[in-house]
């Protein structure tokens, strides 16, 4: 639940989502749901020459289960707040 809330805070920022098939997609985070499915707008594949499979796609839905990493904007994370929140969550509330 914590990371769901966390990703909701990042809506509107540019992120790069790396998938478990090595495809990396950059775009503006449009929304996220409870499964951490991600919707991106204005997308572009990071290595378009190698992966031309999404050349005509500008908006996409990425299933949470295939996400390996989400690269965040440097100003998108306040480490201290996230530390505190993860510890609170680990303690169970």
């Amino acid at each position: 639940m914590l990371f769901f809330s966390y990703f909701k805070e990042l809506v509107g920022k540019e992120v790069t989502v790396e998938l478990k098939n090595d495809l990396a997609i950059k775009g503006i985070l449009h929304s996220v749901d409870q499964y951490l499915n991600i919707k991106l707008e204005n997308t572009r594949v990071v290595d378009q020459d190698k992966y031309p499979h999404m050349l005509s796609v500008r908006n996409c839905f990425i299933r949470g289960s295939v996400v390996r990493y989400v690269q965040l904007p440097p100003d998108g994370v306040d480490i201290d707040i996230l530390h505190d929140a993860t510890r609170r969550e680990a303690r169970g509330g």
Binding site: L19, N37, K39, H53, M54, S56, R58, F61, R63
Partner: protein, 98 residues
Amino acid sequence: MSAGPGLESLVDQTISVITNDGRNIIGILKGFDQATNIILDESHERVYSTKEGVQQLVLGLYIIRGDNISVIGELDEELDANLDLSKLRAHPLKPVIH
């Protein structure tokens, strides 16, 4: 693509699906559920290879189980019309390894 995180906004639109085994299937989204199972109408597969241009295989009406879906993209018809598939060469996408 407006509204929330669901696929409502894509219903009756042409979408491009990338499956976990690396296939690319294009079709019209007719329905979906919580588990991302989807119904695709008038679908076809685009087969990428390095030897020849992209081959299109007609599939028809398909249901794809959500487990097997990686990405669902909204196909921009204009961008797609400008693609010369016969000249596109690429390795097929790798399968997803969990």
